[in-house]
Amino acid sequence: MSAWPEATQERARQIISRYPEKRSAVMPLLYLAMAEDGHLTEDGMAEVAEWCGITPAQVQSVASFYTMYKRERTGQYLVSCCTSISCMLLGGDDVLHAVEDESGVPHGETDEEGLLSVEHVECIGACGGAPAVQVNYELIEGVTPEKARDLVGWLKDARPSVVNTDEMQELFGGPRSFDWGIREEEGAVGPYPAFQPLGTVGKE
């Protein structure tokens, strides 16, 4: 018996139907489990195991391999600062330190309230717009330490229910890797990628 609400179960069935073998759905279903509980719980992983016809230990072996499956309590906003080589060359470390300082959250940790998690990450493919930051995987390019402080303040004060990449880029960004084209309304509603039904708003 699934512990998930019927709508989530329906999404799980849709996802599984896209693959020749149901085990292949383990990664998207792990995101679904994160969206249900805010992070990956033991129960969530057991649920995924049930859907994919594998054991909870097998699901955990997959979940523990990938950095985006958060198995500990994660803030409503996950702020990921790139400190890989191209961002480092243009001040990515200073941006990270500004985020840590302004939020009071050291990288790898979450504040007490559960609002903000901060992490430094390896290359996020925004090298032409370095330094880059993501909030719930929604990208901001050309961030300065000052703008990074403003971003943290905005997340704390405005507490947007959806984080939108175009909006954040306008407010806190600078030079971009390339022209992004027309603005989009979709965004992320939690610390997991806003893709397909997994927390995307706008259309389904």
Binding site: Y66, I85, L90, E122, C127, G128, D179
Partner: protein
């Protein structure tokens, strides 16, 4: 004058190059329709003749790769959009700005390889590109370009968009296949697990990069001869390069093979900010052995010229470092990436990359010892015997051997800088380095 192929639509129509309306108004999907009337042999031969090389890093002939597909069916196609090599952001632009071009390339590749279910594997940190691709896939289904009986034919093609979980190693094709099967993204041994023979679900599988398949509509439209003739050398067609670091005009550039590094960095990239001097650059993504201006600035950017100089064009990512850059810190940052992304299967990579990161960190922090560079070279030799390029493999996949490229650069070009870190008890460049943006 540069001919633009895969970036032409986004350059001409920056607002809406990703829409189906724009794609169809600019000859979109005509070549996929044409491919339905061609045989597997005709398509494989056309792509072979075009000289198209895989754009994911290995630069292997795409047509030849297709020709290796084993006869068992069903066969699968997986598009590698797990772009994660530091410095690389070209696939992100192709996914985000021209997803229909990739889908048309997928349809052509599927027909050529008798595939009826294809996958696009997009890295997890690219939700926006994935949304754009999914929207394009949905449009293609709605218009009968995907699904049952594509373009009114009797050919069925399903296309699934799959999001990764934040692991660079899944860009390695057998790791990607494991990941797509719902396993840990650990590379498989080759042989026996060559994807063309034993790939996804142990069936024949083609794994092609986003940029590679995005070229296919153009190859069919122009004909392989004209495509090959775009450049006067053996590397045919155009090549996307991601330029980042200390350059005035970073970004993705679609270029003909054969211009020089000087032209790329100074003419196209606008040179180094503040008129500062060039110190070194990474020519083909974080895996590639580094180049320095004294030896490499006037080399042509081709696969063979780069290989002859001991490096590779790889993913096309060029990371430029000016005179203010500490080479020890830059090396540490590149190696930290590989240590973080090592899947842990092979001891030389798992242990070696971690040790190299620690050694460089202590040199940079002023705790280095006189023997530390020799020690780092010795550890590197344990991962990549002789530190040559291409590396002598000690591991299942090339991730570990790639991690020693920065050590080779320190050993070959920057020994004095490493020694001064040790003798001065810290980084000699730190005080000279501008804070924040240069």
């Amino acid at each position: 004058m540069t001919t633009l192929l895969v970036t032409k639509r986004m350059v001409d129509h920056p607002a809406d190059s990703h829409t189906l309306e724009r794609y169809q108004a600019t000859d979109g999907y005509n070549q996929a329709r044409r491919a339905l009337g061609m045989t597997r042999d005709e398509l494989v031969e056309e792509v072979k003749a075009s000289g198209l090389l895989g754009r994911g890093g290995a630069a292997f002939s795409a047509g030849l790769k297709w020709s290796f597909l084993a006869p068992a069916r069903p066969s699968y196609l997986v598009i590698n959009g797990d772009e994660s090599e530091p410095g690389t952001f070209k696939d992100r632009q192709l996914l985000e700005r021209d997803p229909h071009q990739m889908i048309e390339g997928i349809i052509i590749t599927a027909i050529a390889n008798e595939v009826h279910h294809a996958f696009v594997y997009i890295r997890g940190e690219y939700p926006k590109p994935a949304r754009r691709v999914q929207a394009a896939v949905d449009e293609a289904y709605a218009n009968g370009f995907l699904g049952k009986g594509i373009f009114g034919s009797d050919y069925d093609l399903e296309l699934t968009v799959h999001l990764g979980g934040g692991a660079y190693i899944c860009g390695e094709e057998t790791a990607l296949i494991n990941s797509l099967e719902g396993l840990r993204g650990e590379p498989r041994l080759k042989p026996p697990y060559f994807p063309a023979a034993k790939g996804l679900y142990m069936l024949p599988t083609i794994v092609n990069n986003v940029e590679t398949v995005s070229n296919l509509p153009h190859i069919l439209a122009m004909g392989s001869g004209d495509y090959a003739a775009l450049t006067g050398n053996e590397d045919t067609g155009t090549f996307m390069m991601s330029l980042s670091g200390h350059v005035e005009k970073p970004g993705n550039y679609e270029l003909p093979h054969g211009i020089t590094w000087r032209e790329l960095i100074y003419d196209i990239g606008g040179g180094i900010p503040g008129g500062r001097d060039l110190k070194a650059w990474i020519p083909g993504g974080a895996s590639a052995p580094w180049f320095v201006p004294e030896h490499h600035l006037d080399l042509p950017i081709t696969k063979d010229d780069t290989a002859a100089a001991g490096s590779m064009l790889g993913s096309g990512a060029v990371i430029v470092m000016d005179e203010t850059t500490c080479m020890v810190e830059a090396a540490e940052r590149v190696i930290r990436f590989f240590a973080h992304e090592s899947c842990g299967q092979c001891t030389p990579c798992r242990e070696g990359t971690t040790w190299l990161e620690m050694i460089l960190r202590r040199i940079e922090d002023g705790q280095g010892r006189a023997v530390d560079l020799d020690l780092a070279v010795d550890v590197s030799d344990g991962i990549s015997i002789g530190l040559g390029w291409p590396p002598k493999m000690t591991t299942i996949c090339p991730l570990g051997p790639s991690a020693v490229s920065p050590i080779k650069a320190l050993k070959d070009y920057f020994i004095e800088e490493v020694e001064s870190h040790v003798s001065q008890g810290g980084c000699p460049l730190k005080s000279a380095q501008p804070v924040g943006s240069p």
